[in-house]
Amino acid sequence: MKTIKIEKGQWAPGLEKAAKAFRLIGPVKEKDFHSFKPLANGALPDLTCLNTRLSPKSLVYPQSEVMFTYSLDESREDHHQLKEAVKDTSPRAVVGIRPCDAKAFTLVRLNFDTPEYQDPYWLRAYESTTFIGLGCTSPCSACFCTSAGCGPYHEEGLDVLLADAGDHYLARVLTDKGAKFLDAAGWKTAAKDADKTVAAMARAAEGKITSFVQTENLKSLPNNDLYSATFWEEVSFACINCGTCTYSCPTCWCFDIQDETRGASGVRMKNWDSCMYPLFTLHGTGHNPRGTKLHRVRQRFMHKLKYFVDKYDRGIQCVGCGRCVRLCPVNIDIRRVCNMMNGFAASGEACAIK
């Protein structure tokens, strides 16, 4: 593995060069929080950002995405035909994404890229993107990545991992896509003994993580027992069934398809949906198999922490970014719920964690 040394003085000029070959996207602060935005005209990503308030999943999987357009105007030859919507899939690079959010894309991919079905919208957007990650030197107090199969310098899903070494960045080149980006930026200086330095920085950052989830029992716990656990009443009581947790989550992937017609033309689009909403599971008959908030809250946690674990054997469907913990209006904390589930004993519900 190659590591490149990027002097900070070369950062802005390098990005300017890279911008000729890539559409650049990075964390930008607007009003009181950061979000990922296109970096126009030499704007720099704000690498002081601890993390963006909402996850960057929308870069690949927009909240509302037009798939097809159509016309109902029968004087047109192509009326009532779905036409693929035009998308810009030219190369782009997300600069300054955190390792947790990059790994999250690899989990979401499990849903959008299967042997049977490939979602072309998600895949084209993902494949056109190069992910330049930034290791976390100061993880937030609600971050629990190290126990959620991730870490502050985790490399999965990244093309380049940057480590901030004071007056320079050490850039670990993880894929060919990453190498191409660094070439385009003109950063070529090989770093010496960088592996050790980055490994030490990673260890130091991991040591700063203070919150954890326990997941080791989740796989072996019987589904039905966990589903029937009495703690769901207590867990779900405070929930107001808004979509904040699912919409801010980098790994939640559920969507709904809608046609919207105005006059004689329309679009078929994909919109984020949320298991927190009653409409999510409402049948055409009027029956709703998840008719209460207890059903819906349980579904969210069971999907992330049990069904996903069972189905994919890739750990939990969570990277420990802590967004839902920080943003839940009523302080429902996935760390607490995960530990309750993991500590569940069918007989006496001996969940020690309160």
């Binding site: 009003k31 929080f33 009581f237 405070a238 808004c242 919109n271 409409l279 009523v330 760390r335």
Partner: protein
């Protein structure tokens, strides 16, 4: 105010032990700074988990909707007004409730505190007059009145309007408060400027509906945005649909909103949607002399008909 916790626990424990109520709804200590979680206690032992501090901003009336049990509920001024509204709208019966009134001194705005600190806040402690926020390499003290939620700084009904028990003697109400300066500022804008203001205000909305769901007034079995047969409102991020949601939500709260601030507090992207509901609140005050949730005896102006109504259009 820090003594409230002990008193709330004592009352809750007593109500549960005597069987006067089946559950007590209050707050328990949150898992992150400046957040508490709405929580129920069903046994006297569980009542020991109840807490009170300046982070109890969620409106607990929201947790009463259509419940059948006998419930003890911890209620600050605005919660009590929404409990009144719930009772007159038949969402809960007065006889089901034992209201544990909490004279409120305002809730703090965690985002304002966070923005005034140089780094991430890892611990917040509170004393009688203020709060101290600590994080990596800093410790900063705030007078409570500097960091109140905006609605709390304008509140003139801090004491519960109905109660069966009280966690403390009443607090002095704020007087001389200019409650509608922000509404007047929006009123004073020209149409274009106002349109731009609303456009900017709603631009970050992700339609998570946290504002709607945190609101005790929003209890329709199916909200108009969730109607699917027929579907009234589009599901996308189209600005006209986003606006439709916000404007209609606000109108549904006319004459009912107590400006408890739960909506603004819940919003993950910091939208102050209270500018809509406050305009309607002000209209109800100006046109009908009405403030929501103050009395169990008087019907709200928008659900009564009076033969002597001064407006001609209704005759």
């Amino acid at each position: 105010m820090l003594s409230y916790t002990e008193k709330i626990r004592e009352i809750a424990g007593r109500l549960l032990a005597s069987g006067a109520v089946e559950m007590v709804v209050g707050f328990r200590q949150g898992t992150i700074p400046m957040m508490n979680e709405p929580h129920f206690a069903k046994t006297p032992a569980e009542a020991a988990a109840l807490v009170w501090d300046s982070h109890c901003g969620i409106n607990l009336a929201n947790y009463l909707t259509d419940r059948k049990e006998k419930i003890g509920i911890v209620a600050k001024g605005c919660d009590s007004r929404n409990i009144v509204t719930h009772i007159i709208e038949n969402k809960i019966k007065r006889e089901q409730l034992v209201v544990i009134g909490v004279p409120c001194q305002g809730m703090v705005d965690k985002r304002r505190i966070a923005m005034k600190c140089p780094g991430e806040i890892t611990e917040v402690t509170e004393d009688e007059t203020g709060l101290t926020a600590k994080g990596n390499g800093f410790s900063q003290r705030f007078e409570k009145k500097e960091v109140l939620q905006h609605n709390c700084s304008l509140c003139i009904h801090r004491n519960p309007v109905i109660h069966d028990e009280m966690a403390a003697p009443p607090v002095e109400e704020q007087t001389g408060v200019d409650r509608y300066a922000d509404v007047r500022a929006v009123d004073a804008m020209g149409p274009e400027q106002r349109w731009k203001y609303f456009e900017d205000l709603l631009a970050p909305c992700v339609r998570c509906y946290a504002c709607r769901n945190a609101c005790p007034l929003c209890y329709c079995p199916t909200c108009f945005v969730d109607e699917s047969r027929p579907q009234w409102v589009g599901k996308s991020q189209d600005p006209s649909d986003v606006r439709t949601f916000h404007f209609l939500r606000a109108y549904h709260c006319a004459g009912r909103c107590t400006d408890c601030g739960a909506c603004e507090r819940a919003c993950p992207v910091g939208i102050n949607m209270r500018v809509f509901t406050k305009k309607l609140e002000k209209d109800c005050l100006d046109l009908f002399g009405w403030e929501a949730g103050l009395s169990l005896e008087v019907r709200p102006p928008l659900d009564v008909y009076r033969p002597n109504d001064p407006n001609d259009f209704i005759k």
